[in-house]
């Protein structure tokens, strides 16, 4: 009894203002949450206990924030009615429509957030309000995502923590929890197969290889302000990473033409989610060809596309063949580091020529490809020369071995003669 009284006195001493916005100067003491957690853990209720358990590892708990900052109430009270007294600010379970505001109470407060993480943005609430999710939630649609849908409610971890559902490694799967739900997406008239398509993309494959800088959903759609990029802004969005392509595309005749036709820039040829590795076949009239959709066979556009394709194919083929020759020479132990270096330059030229396709001027591609072609041909010659040198060395070796063999035979005869002479004398 005495102990309980002492605990109550202690808790009362550190009791915070219920549901008040915390300030860094009056950073809440961890003990303030003891009352909530102790009771909720003791309840052993499938709905009420897990939040208390999960909160122990929560980033907020680790920074001294307690249950009352979101839920209000009196953590020092040992009586449930007192602890859950609405007059003390207790609000219980926060409805989804109120979650952004509750989180934003602190996360939109620059002065407060600076005390904990000066680099953390404080515009998440404003961003969220501008998002598709935010608009729908404002209209009372509670099926859309709010803060807790992605970050979790009580076991919130920093984004850098790989266990967090919004960590770079997990964000796409987190989005797919809703965007892969066919019934939910159909009810919103949205596609439900975006993750399946994304998983075939070069971006996904790069992430599979461990490159977490490769784009995930939020890279293009934004995270808190998630909306699909608009037609006119697609090139800008892709251009945040593919800057050269975006610049070239803006200089190309397609920039104005696409705008007039209402075509969404990059994704017209590259798709939006299923962005597969582009090949020279994109410029062909075959099933993978992209130009044929607008340019009829024989039209100037189709002719230019064919020329660009031919130039790229020629350079790629020449480089590949040169590389095979140089590799054969290297495997034979020939010194071909210079040719290997040149092949790297030819690869660079091919990358440049492929990038120049986005100018949609056949002459630009030809110019870039021509420089690479000269380099690849020079590397090919070096490879051939090295292989000829290898054959020359081997021919020389056989001649030398023949001469050595003759000398050995001559010596053996001489040894036999000397031995006979000695035994004759003996």
């Amino acid at each position: 009894m005495i102990a309980l009284s002492a605990l109550a006195l202690l808790l009362a001493a550190v009791r915070p203002t219920p549901a008040a916005k915390p300030t860094a100067a009056a950073k809440p003491a961890p003990a303030a949450t003891v009352g909530c957690v102790e009771c909720h853990l003791a309840l052993d209720d499938s709905r009420l206990t897990p939040p208390a358990k999960a909160f122990a590892d929560d980033i907020h708990a680790r920074n001294g924030f307690t249950c009352v900052f979101c839920h209000g109430g009196d953590p020092a009270a040992l009586d449930q009615d007192v602890a859950h007294d609405r007059r003390k600010g207790f609000r219980g379970r926060i409805p989804p429509t109120e979650v952004p505001e509750v989180c934003g109470k602190c996360h939109a407060d620059a002065a407060l957030m600076k005390q904990f993480n000066p680099s953390l943005r404080v515009d998440q609430l404003a961003e969220y309000r501008s998002s598709g999710h935010g608009h729908a939630l404002a209209k009372g649609d509670t099926s859309v995502a709010q803060c807790a849908s992605c970050h979790g409610a009580h076991g919130i971890l920093p984004v850098k923590d790989s266990r967090s559902p919004v960590s770079p490694a997990k964000i796409a799967l987190t989005c797919n929890r809703c965007h892969g739900d066919r019934a939910l997406m159909e009810s919103h008239k949205l596609p439900w197969d975006v993750y399946a398509k994304y998983s075939k993309s070069v971006h996904f494959k790069a992430r599979e290889k461990g490159d977490l800088s490769a784009p995930s959903c939020n890279s293009c759609h934004g995270n808190h302000g998630a909306v699909p990029p608009e037609v006119g802004s697609v090139a800008n969005v892709c251009g945040t990473c593919h800057a050269v392509f975006a610049e070239q595309f803006k200089l190309s005749p397609h920039w104005e033409a696409f705008k007039e036709m209402g075509l969404p820039g990059c994704v017209t040829c590259h798709e939006n989610h299923e962005i597969v590795e582009p090949t020279e076949e994109f410029l062909s009239n075959g099933p993978s060809g992209k130009c044929g959709a607008c340019h009829e066979v024989g039209s100037p556009g189709a002719v230019a596309a064919a020329q660009m394709r031919n130039d790229l194919v020629r350079l790629a083929t020449e480089t590949r063949q040169a590389r095979a020759l140089v590799r054969r020479a290297a495997e034979a132990g020939m010194e071909v580091s210079r040719a290997n270096f040149d092949l790297g330059r030819a690869d660079d030229a091919l990358v440049r020529a492929r990038a120049d396709v986005h100018l949609f001027r056949a002459s630009a591609v030809r110019e870039a490809a021509a420089s690479g072609l000269t380099i690849a041909q020079s590397a090919r010659k070096a490879g051939q020369k090295a292989l000829e040198e290898r054959d020359y060395r081997r021919r020389g070796l056989f001649v030398s071995l023949g001469l050595i063999g003759l000398a050995v035979v001559a010596l053996l005869f001489k040894i036999r003669d000397v031995d006979r002479e000695r035994s004759g004398r003996a």
Binding site: G333, M334, E335, V336, S337, R338, R393, R394, G396, L397, S400, L401, I404, G405, A407, V408, L411, L412, K414, I415, V418, D419, R422
Partner: protein, 376 residues
């Protein structure tokens, strides 16, 4: 009296003109004595005579190393910024540069192998018995010099593998108590392997070691010449087959072996030119699978088995100390093997040697096996 008259009257009697250039040289060089010596020199014939050829083979391969090494010097540049490129130039641009460098590299490995075999054969034939103790000691010193040649030459192309292997190798002397760190620092020319290490390894490889080696080879050959070839204990009294004249009988047989060695080196060079690898980058992480030349592998592997600490002494220090003891035993073997000194087969020493050789071979094989989890 004119000055000319004085000079002509003071001049000695002119010697009669020589019969020919060869006779003129013979008079001055006195090679009749040498020919007489060569005619007298004999090699005993018995069932182990074949092992006598290893010494000649080692000497021949040393000469190949000297000749190819001098040719490489014409193009090699001993600096961190130019060493790799100069070897690349030798391999790609210099006419027959690839051949000279490959023969030098392959020859070095063959040389180490032949020297080791020569030493092992001399050990089992007990050729270090009195009065040939000094011949053995100079030979053991030459073996150490040979691996020194290998160690110092390995770094000279300044490639990734040699750079990191040298970093590990020059760390080993640092384990010696008291003087170790200083020794390592002297070897490296600083606290780490840098261009300064390359410069001094170059000096050691092309000047210091060759000078000492030439001197020791001279003493070694002089002793062999003076004391003649040793007849194994088991063959004493059995050499009814007599002896073989060294010149030209034995030398011609030696030459057959040398010609075969030249053919082997040429074939290896033509089919498997010694690779150059990537240029060393001191700031990059050590690539996986770094290991020294094959003849150091057994020590490299053995050091892995030493615990971190033995009786409070670092395990590697204990390992280096044991290698030191082994080297001392090898060097002073003629003084330690009392049985051989009494013309008796020293069974225990033989067993110890067999155990050491088998252990070294097993450790080498273990070092060559891919490590668990290593990329194939």
């Amino acid at each position: 009296m004119s000055a000319e008259t004085v000079l002509s009257s003071a001049a000695p009697e002119p010697s009669p003109p020589p019969a020919g250039a060869l006779d003129w040289l013979r008079d001055r060089l006195g090679w009749d004595d040498l020919a007489h010596l060569a005619a007298k020199k004999e090699v005993p014939i018995h069932r182990h005579t074949i092992f006598y050829y290893l010494g000649g083979m080692a000497l021949f391969l040393f000469s190949v190393q000297v000749a190819t090494g001098i040719l490489l010097l014409l193009y090699y540049r001993p600096s961190a910024s130019e060493a790799f490129e100069s070897v690349q130039y030798i391999m790609a641009e210099v006419p027959f540069g690839w051949l000279i460098r490959s023969i030098h590299s392959w020859g070095a490995n063959l040389f180490v192998g032949v020297v080791a075999l020569h030493m092992i054969s001399v050990f089992f034939l007990k050729a270090y018995r009195a009065p040939r103790e000094l011949t053995w000691i100079t030979g053991a010193l030459l073996l150490f010099l040979t691996v020194g040649f290998g160690f110092s030459g390995y770094l000279l192309p300044w490639n990734e593998l040699s750079f990191f292997a040298t970093r590990v190798g020059t760390d080993v002397p640092a384990q010696i108590p008291v003087i170790g760190p200083l020794l390592s620092r002297i070897l490296r020319g600083g606290s780490d392997v840098t261009g300064a290490t390359l410069s001094r390894f170059y000096g050691i490889h092309v000047a210091i070691l060759p000078s000492i080696a030439t001197l020791l080879i001279g003493v070694h050959l002089l002793l062999v010449q003076k004391q003649g070839m040793s007849v194994p204990i088991s063959q004493k009294g059995r050499n009814e087959r007599g002896a073989l004249r060294f010149f030209p009988d034995f030398l011609m047989r030696d030459m057959v072996g040398w010609l075969v060695a030249v053919g082997l080196l040429a074939a290896l060079s033509a089919f498997i030119p010694w690779e150059l690898g990537k240029k060393a980058d001191p700031f990059s992480a050590a690539p996986a699978g770094i290991r020294p030349e094959w003849y150091f592998l057994w020590m490299f592997q053995a050091l892995k088995y030493f615990p971190a600490s033995i009786l409070g002494i670092p395990g590697e220090t204990v390992g280096v100390f044991l290698f030191g003891i082994l080297a001392a035993v090898v060097l002073l073997l003629p003084l330690l093997d009392r049985g051989a000194a009494r013309e008796k087969p020293s069974v225990w020493w033989n067993l110890l040697a067999i155990f050491t050789i088998v252990a070294a071979l097993a450790l080498t094989v273990l070092a060559l096996l891919p490590a668990k989890g290593a990329p194939k």
